[in-house]
């Protein structure tokens, strides 16, 4: 009942924006809301199901963006010809070094083992750099203004959503393997570190992602507005609806996106609910609520944590790829932890951790507020400032202050919800009622 009312209110809010501002704005917000909801779903899988604190959501979302580039952009044959071999060679060198280290560590013993490992690592690193440096220099020299990178596979971008999930899952496996099984704080620190490093790589490895030069003009899964305006069937269609085809085209494109995204959200939601109410989900909650008891029952806690961490990260990766698809460009410079990590956390905690419907509602509500508060906040600040002498420094300061206020308010909201409503808007079902429901 509560769920229905809250979702109804959310829908009413979105419709209100459609009526008051414009349907275009409303649909833009809805699309980002859906993506945020998917990210929140992924984080809820980690936090709500298993109690894992991931502070690197930004990194996993950005990996989804990388996948979008690597899957959908057309390959650059000249760059492949110039440096493809070198990159392959350095990849080979990485593998060879890894194998050498493993072999040495097996064969050698005592002090020799440590020095052997160090020597192999240093030698291998020199070898890798020898192959890698000329290769990337060659690739980045190929028409740097337009390409300067290897390009992608030239496949439909929808496939990138799976690719994003896979990339994020791979990264999550590495991080989880290292830090799970230790204190819970270590996972937080490790994810914080890996996300900063991933973003640094995306900004600097120009041969892969063009770095801060950005990749623009990603292919779209839906038609272009300009093509629609000229298509006869579309002109007829909008005439039937009594709409101006020029304006209706952009709304139509956004509706297409919405349908695609909503499908993904529904599928993922259905899968997460199934998982949550399966024996696996019960085991997860058992581990979360009493780790020692679950361990005593013979559950492999670390392995289960790794599993759920990978699954949640993959969902975040999918959402990251979808976001890059929607924006049509990959811009590593725009990823910042506030927007991509902590905002998602606020969504999950406000919505209701442990409850997928709560997480989705949190995604919608918080994103809506994040956007709308700015539209409301600016006139408010203007009003505050208008009473003052414009030459006075303070009025300028007030206008500049708006984005920083967001930081402060986000922190405040997080703390308030955590303390006074830790179960969120739609709390997790528990006890016999939850069991009866399924």
């Amino acid at each position: 009942m509560r769920t229905l009312v809250l979702y109804g209110a959310m829908a009413a809010l979105l419709i209100m924006v459609g009526m008051v501002q414009s349907w275009n704005v409303s649909l833009t917000i809805i699309n980002m809301c859906i993506i945020s909801a998917i990210m929140a779903l992924g984080v809820n899988i980690q936090w709500g199901y298993a109690g894992l604190f991931n502070v690197g959501i930004m990194g996993f979302a950005a990996l989804g963006g990388v996948a979008a580039v690597l899957v959908s952009m057309p390959p650059v044959p000249a760059a492949w010809a110039a440096g493809g071999g070198g990159i392959a060679l350095s990849g080979l060198a990485v593998v060879a070094t890894g194998v050498a280290i493993v072999v040495l560590r097996r064969k050698l013993t005592g002090r020799l083992r440590l020095w052997g490992t160090i020597a192999a690592a240093i030698g291998g690193y020199a070898l890798i750099r020898m192959a890698y440096d000329p290769a990337i220099a060659a690739i980045e020299a190929v028409d740097p203004a337009a390409t300067g990178y290897l390009g992608g596979l030239g496949l439909p971008i929808v496939l990138a959503w799976f690719g994003g999930g896979l990339l994020a899952a791979g990264a999550a496996w590495v991080v989880g393997k290292i830090s799970l099984g230790l204190r819970s704080d270590y996972l937080a620190i490790a994810t914080l570190g890996i996300s900063e490093i991933l973003i640094a790589m995306m900004k600097n490895e120009d041969w892969l992602t063009r770095g801060v030069k950005n990749v623009t003009g990603l292919p779209r899964p839906v038609p272009y507005e300009i093509a629609l305006r000229e298509a006869p069937w579309f002109v007829d269609f909008s005439a039937q609806l009594g709409q101006n085809p020029i304006f209706f085209a952009s709304i139509f494109v956004k509706l297409c996106y919405m349908l695609l995204f909503a499908t993904v959200l529904i599928v993922l939601y259905w899968l997460s609910e199934k998982a949550l109410h399966s024996p696996w989900g019960r085991m997860m909650r058992a581990i979360r609520d009493n780790r020692d008891a679950a361990e005593a029952m013979g559950k492999d806690v670390t392995a289960r944590h790794l599993q759920v961490f990978i699954l949640g990260s993959a969902v975040v990766g999918i959402a990251g790829a979808m976001m890059t698809t929607l924006e049509g460009q990959f811009t590593p410079g725009t990823y910042n932890p506030l927007r991509f990590t902590f905002l998602i956390w606020v969504m999950v905690i406000i919505g209701g951790s442990g409850n997928n419907r709560g997480a989705i509602l949190g995604g919608f509500l918080v994103w809506f507020l994040w956007i709308e508060v700015e539209t409301l906040g600016e006139p408010l600040m203007m009003m505050l400032a208008s009473g003052l002498d414009p030459a006075f420094e303070l009025s300028e300061r007030l206008l500049d202050a708006a984005p920083h206020m967001r930081l402060f308010l986000m922190g405040l909201i997080l703390l308030l919800v955590l303390r006074f409503a830790p179960r969120g808007l739609i709390p997790e079902h528990s006890g016999p009622k939850a069991a009866r429901k399924r």
Binding site: A188, G193, L414
Partner: protein, 336 residues
Amino acid sequence: MTDTLNALVLFANFVFVPGLAYGSQLALGALGVTLIYAVLRFSNFAHGDLMAFGAMGTILFTWVLQGAGITAGPLPTALLALPVGILGAVILSLIFDRTVYRFYRAQRAPPVVFVIASVGVMFMINGIVRLVIGVGDIRFADGGRFIIRAREFREMTGLAEGLALRSTQLITVVVALVVMVALFYFLNRSRMGKAMRAYSDNEDLALLSGINPDRVVLYTWIIAAALATIAGTLYGLDKSFKPFTYFQLLLPIFAAAIVGGIGNPFGAIAGGYLIAFSEVTVTYLYRKFFTYLIPGWEPEGLLQLLSTEYKFAVSFVILVVVLLIRPTGLFRGKTI
């Protein structure tokens, strides 16, 4: 011979001296993190921003002092303003402890809840700092810039390479040393320090022997905030003050604390220097160094192991290696 000397001077100038200064800053930061961890038992994500807040207080009071025409002569005025910055950071920490952490302490909430709460606190402090002082780069070092200038050094020794020693670097190292000695004296000799160590070792036993937990927590916050302010101010003096860099310092600081053994103050200091020296040596351009050492060899590249953008990867890799091989850290901190 001169070539070897030149290479050594070059190395000292670009690696050893900056590494020593940076290491001292990290060590002070890591000490704060480790103390909070030892007593309050959570990783304080707000520590980087607490450093920024303390440094901000110091900067603001520095401006007041400068406006009044008070300077510290050859030393930076910020050193005079430091107590005010510390006071600000202490008050802020105590407010947050009262309003946020105390509630969870009473509940005996799991550590991860504390961590999330500290993230919330981090945002609020970050927002305050940006609101008050803005996001731009601020340089507030004044007084004498150099102890030894590169040119003077060259004239003095007749070498081709110069060794510059900035006053902020020397001040950083000296202040850090003084603070560390004072801290260890406090922890090992004073009644309160012993109580803190006892509380950290075994909370229940400490409570049974009549140690007042509220006072222990109070002192921990005061010391941590003071350490954060000093570390933040020294970092700002040495480089420049920019709120975002303090958030980024969080990773090397955590790495330092964990590598040394979290909860162990001595480990935090060792970890700080270890991380700093690794970061500086790995990102240094070795080209000129080797041309001195191996005559007749002109390397093609810059001979840089890792580009500067990846310096955070260094602390991360060290962190990972330690977590894999010895999760308790080099000096055996709290058990995992």
